[in-house]
């Protein structure tokens, strides 16, 4: 019995955290925020994703990837959420997983996986092409769940029109499928969406933890009425509850990823537990981040809105908390 990250996973986590702290802190995120017409992919950061193997994490070794599991990818995703890091890491990794799970009979799939592993390409993933799709306008290809089938679309098979986006740590585009693309195995859809939900929950857990840490640090220093506001009991109790919620979300994310990796029969339940808990926790913590910073937290110049807006976007990606609770009810109340 061992419910914790391995030393290797901790090392991976440390390396991503250190990279972002040194090379891409939130002041760098701000540059992406203040350039809404840019592609939202800082060149140095994207290069780092490729060079460090962060894109190759779940690509099989035979396609030159690291062949690691959802748990390792979740560790990465959590760090990128904490750093509110821009760039199509998550869509590329999810599209890669779709190619891995659904591309067995398709020669092109292996080729794309190799190019993901080497950091050459960016992919977009559309679970529902009627909704805005992350980085679709700049991606080299798109994997979509289209008319109930899992399809690999190259740029000649779709158009993507950029749209203005509320959370500027990403870029969105409206997609129109114009060609037929390459059909992948649609039986893989459920597995891909589970993986996507867990990695999104990991992003949310990262957002929530960082938002909480920054708020606690600020409230220890900020003095009003002659004492730190963090000594006021109503703030302390709220922050204690939020800390518990974030901790539980972190546990839930790790377990769900592990459950997928090991094929446990409660994987579907675990995924919904993780996405529901992480969505709620991140929404609540990032709202408290604004509130417990007072007026400064509501300004554009403060970082709080990076966390607040990203949490709001990810809350609805791959199923909201209430959608996942309904799935839980179907799995265990109706059973």
């Amino acid at each position: 019995m061992f419910f914790a990250l391995t030393d290797e996973q901790r090392a991976l986590q440390d390396s991503v955290r250190e990279y972002l702290a040194d090379r891409f802190p939130t002041s760098s995120v701000r540059e992406v925020y203040d350039d809404p017409d840019g592609d939202g992919i800082p060149a140095s950061l994207w290069q780092a994703y490729g060079e460090h193997g962060w894109l190759a994490v779940m690509v099989p070794e035979e396609s030159d990837g690291l062949g690691l599991g959802v748990l390792d990818a979740a560790v990465l995703s959590r760090c990128l959420g904490a750093g509110v890091a821009p760039g199509p890491w998550l869509p590329t990794v999810i599209a890669g997983e779709a190619l891995r799970l659904g591309g067995g009979a398709v020669p092109a799939a292996a080729k794309w996986l190799e190019r993901i592993a080497s950091g050459e390409v960016k992919l977009a993933f559309a679970p529902d092409p009627s909704l805005p799709v992350e980085y679709a306008a700049v991606a080299d290809a798109l994997v979509a769940v289209h008319d109930g089938t899992l399809t690999l679309l190259e740029p000649d098979a779709y158009t993507a029109a950029p749209v203005a986006v509320l959370d500027r740590t990403t870029r969105l585009a409206r997609v129109e499928v114009t060609g037929s693309g390459t059909r992948l195995d649609s039986a893989a859809i459920e597995g891909v969406l589970r993986c996507a939900a867990v990695l999104t929950a990991a992003d949310l857990a990262g957002i929530a933890r960082e938002a909480l840490s920054r708020t606690v640090a600020y409230d220890k220093e900020r003095v009003q009425f002659g004492k730190p506001v963090g000594s006021v009991q109503i703030l302390k109790h709220t922050l204690a509850d939020l800390h518990i919620a974030v901790t539980m979300a972190e546990h839930a994310v790790l377990y769900a990823a592990y459950a997928i990796d090991t094929g446990r029969n409660d994987a579907a339940l675990a995924v919904s537990v993780a996405k529901a808990k992480a969505s709620d926790a991140a929404r609540d913590v990032t709202a408290a981040m604004i509130q417990f910073h007072g007026g400064i937290g509501y300004t554009w110049e403060h970082d709080a809105h990076f966390f607040f807006k990203r949490a709001k976007r990810q809350e609805y990606a791959y199923g909201s908390a209430s959608e996942h609770r309904e799935r839980i009810a179907k799995l265990v109340v109706d059973a």
């Binding site: 061992f2 419910f3 914790a4 000594s231 592990y258 529901a276 808990k277 609770r325 009810a329």
Partner: protein
């Protein structure tokens, strides 16, 4: 990450599960069986069953063999808790002794105390209760006023303890008393080991809002206590109490999770059978309670992993307490919502004849108070985990 049992742990689980299957009477799983027994009969039955279990080597799972324990690991203790809950075996009658006093005696007790206390406790020959809370000292334990006066060759104890679990069944009490009459707050307190059968000890039941009497009040009037019946140094009782309470930190909530999850299933079944499970709002709340139960399980595994790795435990047990007590209370509320007005009709005329889920609803109000109220726990998390200023 690896949540499977090691071969040794799997073997222990199989062995204990088989023992429970062979030795736990089938009728014990029905609430009717317990309803027809008086509290004293029920206690005696459980006390005896547990003593048999101890003789078979299924007690003190992670206590050293030299003290009569099984010499197992914290993981095996968690497996034991999980299997006990899974089999719906009765909760231990000597819980305060086993959770708190035993580990403290092993850590700081004299050789005589180790010999006289540990094994009789494991075999339920001596049932222990805890004398901490007083009418004027609830969350603020350091304001306690029960005093022990030095009468040369013995102490003379006067005062009152309250919220004493098993007060009527216990043979001995580990109690915090003021041994220095001039002292204030945390100083001048000692941990006395008091014979509940001694003259001047008057234990009375305390009827709770459930109608049951799990707790009691203990009135102490000129009770003579031997001079050496002190655990730790005289005057160091506060530190002994802090050490004693710290042993709860490493204990696993896996058993609670397993019992609560079974209760959750029972609530879901009532909802399903009554058609209430079609209500979208109720479905959300049932699912939310399940989310919080599942994450409680994971938090327990997280703490267990830290214990097994020998890492320093912080105050994460306060998080565990908040998570389980508040989720359990939610579950009681959800059950009442499932029942609606029909829930007012209970099986018997006496309020003590409650169905288990209605009792859960009422009993769970106590769980956010005893053992450190939710508000105290939040202070602990804020100050000791997050480092927020006092």
């Amino acid at each position: 990450m690896d949540l499977s049992d090691s071969p040794v742990d799997a073997e222990f689980r199989t062995e204990f599960r088989a023992w429970l299957e062979a030795n736990l009477p089938a009728e014990w799983g029905t609430s009717e069986f317990w309803m027809n027994l008086s509290p004293a009969e029920s206690f005696a039955l459980r006390r005896e069953w547990e003593a048999d279990k101890a003789r078979e080597g299924f007690a003190g799972i992670n206590w050293p063999k030299e003290f009569g324990g099984r010499g197992g690991t914290p993981t095996q203790k968690a497996i034991y808790d999980e299997e006990m809950a899974r089999a719906d075996a009765p909760v231990t009658v000597n819980t305060l002794g086993l959770t708190f006093l035993g580990p403290t005696v092993m850590a700081i007790g004299s050789d005589e105390q180790k010999r006289d206390i540990i094994k009789p406790m494991l075999h339920n020959e001596v049932i222990w209760c805890q004398g901490f809370s007083e009418p004027g000292a609830g969350s603020d334990l350091a304001s306690l006023t029960t005093r022990a006066t030095d009468a040369g060759d013995h102490w003379v104890v006067n005062g009152q303890k309250v919220w004493t679990t098993n007060a009527l069944h216990a043979d001995r009490m580990f109690a915090l008393v003021r041994t220095d009459p001039q002292s204030q707050r945390h100083r001048g307190i000692s941990m006395l080991l008091i014979d509940m059968h001694a003259e001047g000890v008057d234990a009375r039941p305390l009827k709770q809002m459930t109608g049951n009497e799990e707790f009691g009040e203990v009135f102490l009037t000129d009770v003579k206590v031997p001079k050496d019946a002190v655990l730790g140094e005289v005057g160091a009782g506060w530190n002994v109490a802090m050490l004693l309470l710290s042993f709860e930190r490493g204990s696993s909530a896996i058993g609670q999770y397993t019992r609560f999850r079974a209760e959750w299933e029972a609530v879901a079944k009532v909802a399903r059978d009554s058609g209430r499970s079609k209500d979208p709002a109720l479905r959300q709340r049932l699912a939310d309670a399940l989310v919080n139960l599942e994450t409680l399980r994971l938090h327990s595994l997280h703490i267990l992993t830290k214990v097994e790795k020998g890492e320093q435990l912080g105050f994460e047990s306060s998080m565990t307490k908040l998570q389980w007590s508040e989720t359990h209370q939610d579950l009681g509320e959800i059950y009442m919502d499932v029942r609606g007005y029909a829930g007012q009709q209970i099986p018997g005329l006496s309020t003590s004849e409650l169905d288990p889920l209605t009792e859960l609803f009422l009993w769970s109000r106590s769980e956010t108070i005893w053992g450190g109220s939710s508000q105290v726990q939040r202070n602990i998390v804020a100050e000791h985990v997050l480092g927020l200023p006092r």
